[in-house]
């Protein structure tokens, strides 16, 4: 039996707004546990644009997205939040004791009286190429991640993509697999120059097959993949035998299971009221880019405000018998919490 994680607020999404919610909750003595599908905290800021400067965080004329996340992690450290990373929140269920149970893709269970959904644009999932029957071959030869390189031993692998992950896995698997074909839509690669050079060397020495100006347009096999159809810009269509097809086109956000949790959704965003950013389901709040209300702006600074007000309201759910008194950090300082 797995141990269940018990806390006061389960925060789904460890982006900037989810992280800051830990701080505001901590000031009110509420413990938090964050769940995120990505393997590291920071959400989009870490995953998509860590090196981009942000200019509209009050008090920071300019701050790099990655730095802002580091600062937030430092700011919430005294409150010892828990993290379940690399797992997507999949199901929510109300228990008989009134608490919510949030279960992840890996079956980790979390219990708390309050859920904050700070899911941004949704969870990041691999971008799937628009090939008709691709879903049919998922886990039957088509994989969007390399989970275990050993799985590719002695097999024929087709990798598609032009970025770092396509290059890196081509280099890595060249040693293991029987045959590696890398397919890229253009001639130039966007990855690290060292990796590009290495791939070119492998192609020249015949260790891998490199097909540029081409894309995979079809998959073949009876129950299990045995070949891909490639369309070349000038040479037309041809087939390459393959046991595995690994399309590596980066990640894209999808609302995912949140859409099935009984919340009122408008255009992929959760409707909330602006008193406390509560959803239509008592005990569940939505903050940051994932929510919508009249006048909504998808800005980090607005998300911080929403997190702050949601915490005030959540306090009444977490501690129904306690009185809430408003305090300034300049007066009380920060009183941390044990882990």
């Amino acid at each position: 039996m797995r141990t269940k994680i018990e806390t006061d607020i389960i925060i789904i999404g460890a982006g900037p707004v989810g992280l800051f919610a830990v701080f505001e909750a901590g000031l009110l003595k509420m413990r938090c546990h964050l769940i995120d599908a990505l393997p590291q905290p920071g959400g989009q800021l870490t995953e998509i644009y860590p090196k981009k400067p942000i200019y509209d965080i009050p008090g920071y004329p300019s701050v790099l997205a990655g730095e802002l996340v580091q600062n937030l992690m430092q700011q919430i450290a005294p409150f010892n939040p828990g993290f379940t990373l690399g797992e997507r929140a999949e199901h929510i269920e109300k228990q008989d004791d009134g608490r919510w149970r949030v279960t992840t893709t890996r079956g980790t269970e979390h219990l708390a009286p309050v859920i904050f959904i700070a899911g941004g644009l949704g969870s990041f999932e691999p971008r799937k190429p628009p090939i008709d029957n691709i879903e049919h071959f998922e886990d039957r030869g088509v994989e969007y991640f390399v989970r275990n390189p050993e799985d590719y031993k002695n097999s024929r692998v087709v990798i598609a993509g032009g970025g770092d992950s396509a290059l890196d896995w081509t280099i890595y698997l060249a040693e293991l697999a029987d045959q590696i074909t890398l397919i890229h839509r253009r001639t130039e690669f966007r990855g690290a120059p060292d990796s590009v050079e290495k791939v070119m060397e492998l192609a020249e020495s015949g260790k891998i097959k490199l097909i540029t100006n081409a894309q995979v347009v079809g998959l073949q096999g009876n129950g299990k993949l045995n070949g891909v159809v490639i369309q070349h810009d000038t040479d037309g269509e041809f087939e390459v035998a393959a046991d595995h097809f690994v399309p590596l086109f980066g990640l894209t956000p999808k609302l995912g299971p949140i859409a099935d949790w009984g919340l009122t959704i408008d255009k992929s965003a959760i409707e909330v009221n602006t008193t406390d950013y509560a959803t239509n389901v008592p005990g569940i709040y939505a903050i940051g880019d994932i929510n919508t209300y009249p006048g909504k702006l998808k800005l980090i600074l607005c998300g911080f405000h929403e997190a702050t007000l949601a915490c005030q309201s959540a306090f009444k759910v977490v501690f129904p018998d306690k009185k809430l008194s408003f305090k300034y950090t300049t007066v009380t300082g920060i009183e941390g919490m044990p882990g």
Binding site: I48, Y49, K52, R127, P130, G161, G162, R185, R190
Partner: protein
């Protein structure tokens, strides 16, 4: 009208929309489409990071060369053709007057 150009957008159903586009509002094609409620998500907010504003250029106007960021994103996008661009990277300027674009499939 002063500071207004015309941009023609062919939506995914093949319908043509002739849009009045301001050149003095620091807007781009993605934002223009959203303002006219055409089905363009603009998920990343214009950072060339999602390709939800992917368009095909159908007319002959001279466009600025795509940046490395835009090319990198187009590398990871689908249905990409030689005339593919990201709407968010095309700023509304007088030179674009009469530009015709088609929304790429999603």
């Amino acid at each position: 009208m002063e500071n207004t150009i015309q941009i023609n957008i062919i939506d995914r159903a093949g319908e043509r929309h002739e849009l009045d586009a301001p050149t003095d509002m620091a807007m781009n094609i993605m934002e223009l489409c959203k303002a006219y409620e055409l089905p363009v998500e603009g998920t990343c907010g214009g950072m060339a990071l999602c390709a939800s504003c992917h368009v095909y250029v159908l007319s002959e106007q001279e466009l600025p060369e795509p940046s490395d960021d835009e090319l990198a994103m187009l590398d990871a996008a689908f249905f990409v053709k030689a005339n593919s661009r990201l709407g968010c990277q095309l700023k509304l300027k007088a030179e674009l007057d009469g530009l015709t674009l088609e929304l790429a499939p999603v």
